[in-house]
Assembly symmetry: C2
C-alpha cells in the first residue's frame, strides 16, 4: 500500500524529523508563495526529493483529508520490535498500551500526547485495534515518527514480558477505587493501558495490572473520550516528573 | 435545517436526559433484538415518539456518520442566553470559552469533558468557530444536552461581562510562565479560554485574562491537540475540587 502524509505542517515535520523515505511530494499550483509551502520546496531540494507542482484538480480524490495542497508519498511508518525496545539502555521508560482503540483519530491523538509528554513507545495489538494509517498519522500531527511504535500479536504476553523487564503496569478502569493522581509515576518504568471506546481495558489485562486507576468525574455522565482520558493521565505523570525534579534541586 | 442524532448510546442519552423535541426515530430492520435498540423502542413508546423500522438501504446516505442503525430527528440544540446564565443563583460556576475552534470533533469532545467535570456552560462565538451540528453532537456523546450552550457575538464583550459578574478568566497560552497546576481553581467562578487549533487564544482575549497558563511538555514537539489540552486543564480543576472537599472533611 502506498502511504501518504497530508498537510503542510505534517510534511514539514516529516522532512525535518523523520527517517522515513519520501518518494515524492505533490504541491497544488498557486500555493508556492505560502511560506510553509516554500519551506517544503526548499527542504525537498536540499534532500534531493522529487516534487511536482500539479493543478488543484489532481487533489480532488484526496479532499476528504485536509491536505492543504501538499501531499507526500512515503514509506510506511517504521515499527520497532518489542525486544529491541526492551534492550535500549534507559531508565524510567514510559509506554502507552492501546487495547483495542478503534477510532484512528483517537489513536493518532494519543500518540501525539505521548510524544509531547516524552513517552518512549506506544504498543498496540495486530488485531482489534485501528491500524497505523494516514488518518492516524494526520491526527498525530506527525508524532508517529517521534517515538517507537510496537505492534504485537498478544498484549497479554507483552505485559508479562514488560513485567519481567521491571515495568509497572497501570490500567485505566472506571470501576477502580484509586484515582489517577493517587499513584507515583516517578523513578520507574511504567506502561499505561488505555481500553477500547466501548468496553475499556479487557479483563485479562486488568488482572495482570499492578495498578488500576480511574479519572473521577463530577457529573453522572458516561465517560471521557479515550484520547482525552489518556491526556489527563499522561500529563499527571509529566507534572509529577517536573515537580519531582524541582524537589531534587 | 433538520437535525439528527446518530448512534444507539446518543439516542438513549437524548431520550433519557434532554428536553429537546424528538420528531421521529428511524431504526434499521434487523437490529430490534439488540438490547440498546430495544431500550430505544421502549423509550419511544413511553414518550409517544414516532419510530419506524426501515430497511438498511435507507441509511446509506448517512453512512459517513456512525449511526449503528439508529437515527433520531430532533429539534436543534437549545442555546441559553448569557444574561440568563449569569442570573442563575449558584456558587463556583465553571465555564469553557471556545475561541475559534474549527474542528467539530474537538468542539464536541471538549463539551463532553466539560460535562464529565461538572462544568456549567460552554461559550462560543457566532463566527470563526465550528457551529453546533450533528458531528459536534456525536463527538460530545450527547453531552450538548447536559450543560448551557451560549452563543455570543463578541467574546471580548462577554469576558468583560463575566468579569463584572465575579468570574476569573484563565487563558491557555503556550508562551505563559505559569503552569496549569500552579493556580487554584477552588471556591471561585472561573472561565477557561481554549484557543484555535492554529493560532491559540487571540491577543485581545489574552490581554483581558487574569491568568495565563500553559501545559508544560517533556519533548520539543509542537503541542497537544486542543481537546486533549482542554481535558488536562479541566481535570486539574476537578482534582483540586475533590482534594479540597477532602481537606474540609
Amino acid at each position: 500500500m502506498e502511504n501518504y502524509v497530508f498537510g503542510r505542517n505534517n510534511v514539514i515535520e516529516l522532512l525535518q524529523n523523520s527517517n522515513r523515505t519520501v518518494s515524492k511530494i505533490i504541491i497544488a499550483d498557486g500555493s508556492q508563495n505560502n511560506s510553509k509551502v516554500n519551506l517544503i520546496i526548499q527542504l525537498a531540494k536540499q534532500n534531493g526529493i522529487l516534487f511536482q507542482i500539479l493543478p488543484k484538480e489532481k487533489f480532488t480524490k484526496f479532499n476528504s483529508y485536509s491536505h492543504q495542497g501538499v501531499i507526500a508519498y512515503v514509506s510506511p511508518v517504521k515499527f520497532v520490535d518489542l525486544y529491541e525496545f526492551l534492550n535500549i539502555d534507559k531508565n524510567n521508560k514510559k509506554v502507552i498500551i492501546l487495547d483495542g482503540i478503534e477510532d484512528p483519530h483517537n489513536v493518532g491523538s494519543i500518540i501525539r500526547s505521548a510524544v509531547c509528554a516524552g513517552f518512549d513507545a506506544v504498543i498496540f495489538p495486530s488485531r482489534r485495534n485501528a491500524v497505523i494509517n494516514s488518518t492516524v498519522e494526520k491526527s498525530s500531527a506527525g508524532a508517529v515518527n517521534r517515538l517507537d511504535l510496537i505492534m504485537v500479536n498478544s498484549l497479554a504476553a507483552t505485559i508479562d514480558k514488560l513485567k519481567d523487564n521491571n515495568f509497572w503496569i497501570i490500567a485505566t478502569d472506571i470501576h477502580s477505587k484509586d484515582n489517577y493522581y493517587d499513584i507515583d509515576y516517578c523513578n520507574m518504568n511504567f506502561a499505561i493501558i488505555m481500553g477500547s471506546e466501548n468496553s475499556g481495558v479487557s479483563a485479562t489485562l486488568l488482572k495482570k495490572s499492578d495498578f488500576r486507576i480511574k479519572i473521577p468525574m463530577l457529573a453522572d455522565f458516561n465517560s471521557l473520550n479515550v484520547a482525552n482520558a489518556a491526556a489527563v493521565v499522561i500529563f499527571e505523570s509529566v507534572k509529577q516528573t517536573l515537580q519531582n525534579r524541582k524537589d531534587v534541586v
